[in-house]
Amino acid sequence: MISFALYSIKGGVGKTATAVNLAYLAAAQEGPCLLVDLDPQGSTSYYYRIQPGKKINSKSLAKGKSNIPHFIRESDFEDLFVLPSHISYRKLDIHFDRIKRSKKRIRELIADIGRDYQYVIIDAPPNITLLSENIFRGVDFVVVPVVPTYLSLRTLEQLQNFFNKQHISLKKLVAFFSMVDRRKKLHRAVVEGQDETENAFLPIWIPFSSAVEKMGATRQPLLHYDNQSKAAQAYHQLWDHLKHRFVT
């Protein structure tokens, strides 16, 4: 089982869009895959048309109650399962703060529920919090979408510094450019100016595309209704690169 989180300090960078589509590919190609929606906004759950169970809440998640598998929902697609988000996840941080050894909670959770899956993919909320620190420690890889602006590059640096300070291996960190608009001079400049080896950037970027935006209306993964679009092809390539990174 391999686990990774889609994470960024910033919101609106394509975390959810990526998590939704990568999970779709992982399930189709590799077998059982669990997509965990930890963002209280619940966009991932929304795209898969899954409502949270009534009794799921942040307390049981933080405390590691064994009833978590009970909340897992099977998606419309073979081998793809979703642990939906819940509004109470806003308070996850507070709960983690109250628990001893809380830094290991997510890791234990993944080890526990991840047994039946080939991949566990987490759609993480933005900001650096106790919860995100937990996620960094708990997953095998942290995948960071970066919109090509100098400001975004700076937030990536902040994240790298945080990893260093907390003694979390930088090898876990994988970045890629997201929502790239080739018509924008700035985007071109940033993408082309990146030294791949230095900043953990994968040699692949996801274009800005209205096809992706349409997901909000269709409530389906892009790869399901438009597998041929440029953006869909880019997700395929991103997944191939990630798989390669996971095994090396």
Binding site: Y48, R49, I50, Q51, G53, F71, I72, R73, E74, D76, E78, F81, R219
Partner: protein, 510 residues
Amino acid sequence: MYTIAGFQVNDAQTIDQHVNQLKKYFIIRGGEERQETWKLSDTFDWRLYNRNLILKRIHHHLALVSLDNSKFDIRQSIQKDIRYVWDLPDGKLKQQLWSILEERALLDIVVDDVRVKTIVVLNELGKTVTRLSIHRFQPKMNITALPESYILVHALQGYKDESDQIVDQLKTQGLHQLTSSLYAYRLRNSDREPGLYSTKVNVSLSDDLPSVEAMRRIFQFLLQIMKENKQGIIEDIDTEFLHDFRVSLRRTRAGLSQVKGLYNDPLTRHFKDQLKKLQQLSNRLRDLDVYLLSKKEFARMLVPDLRPYIDHLFGRLTAEREAEYQRVMHLLQSDEYQNILTTWEQFVNKEYTVEELGINAGKPCKTLAMERIYKSYRKIIKMGKRITDDTPDADIHQLRIDCKKLRYLMEFFYSLFPQKEMNALSKHVKKLQDYLGKYNDYSVQQTFLKKYLDEHHDRSKTSYYTAAIIGGLLEHLYHEQKTLRSAFHSIFRDFSDKSYQKQFNRLFKL
């Protein structure tokens, strides 16, 4: 997704009506229809079926599934046809199947052409909450007959309540619910009755039945097994067809020699000789089969440096086995050998004249059974007591043969004695038999290897390696056998324990 219920639709033309009725209460979307070929496979001796499992193959997808509606399901996609477990790619399925099937081949039990239509049930968000699949099996023989049709209900994890509602609705619509999985229903279309095969003698006798009649039934049973396995031997499907054939033949011969005086002497001798000839025909073939199956074990006996070279030896053995198989098949299908079994069958089924019968023919079978079992048991006790550390191997082998005969006798007449005690005593005898069997295997293997060494001494490099391998194996086998020998006394002490002697006396002493 897992199947929670199945329904049989007697009249295929009503399927649409049933679906339309569901539409009154649920949001239903019709899916596409596709053609599938289903292959359900098992071994000749029903190893999967008897564990309530079956191997299902649909195109490139293989799955080990349960015959009741449980979630158990191990899947694997495959590129080519699978006949033996070792043809499978490594993984969970291979591991699980190996522990059940071992070297037995998979046979297609049922091959079905089926049209499958999937229908989804959605909730108010448009999320799929249940799937239905409609299966129409193309009739094989009678083209004009209506296809057998079924509706299966599949639940999605987290949406069990929604599926239960569908199941309830279909019940109200008067459909007949299946009591086991659809696979179990399809297996009934097989030519053979599922699950019915065992080489274990299963003949129930009554105490006063004349011995010749009792043995007639046992011989008939054994003949049946031999006949059932014949095609598998000829097609060389796997090694166990020959094995089962030979075991039944050996049991038959033991019946002739151990249950004395059924027929007159010349007749008994004639059939004993004939059946022995038939058995000997495949001795070497079976030996080679056993060696080839135990390659891994042999490899483990060698020092690691020699292990890779074991392929030389086994390559040759494989070639030899092929040649031997051709030889045996040729003879087995010749008139001379065919006649052995056909005349034996005719004889087993005929009305006997007084002259043909022997002195024990009319004796009540329980009396004869007690006499023979008791005598056979006493003989083993007597022989075993005489064995010391200096006794030659040949005597130990004789003891093994006698032990086997006792086991066969107890199997033949199992139904005449209290079951519980027979089970316990059989187990008791088997312990000694297993020990002696293992001891014998070591001897046979050493003899085989020595003979092999004598017969293959060209000067090729391969021969040198093979010789080194054989040397390594002989050394190992020799020491193992010696260790085993030193355990004889404690094994035999257990076997001849007074409490067991008493039990034997009580059951079998007249």
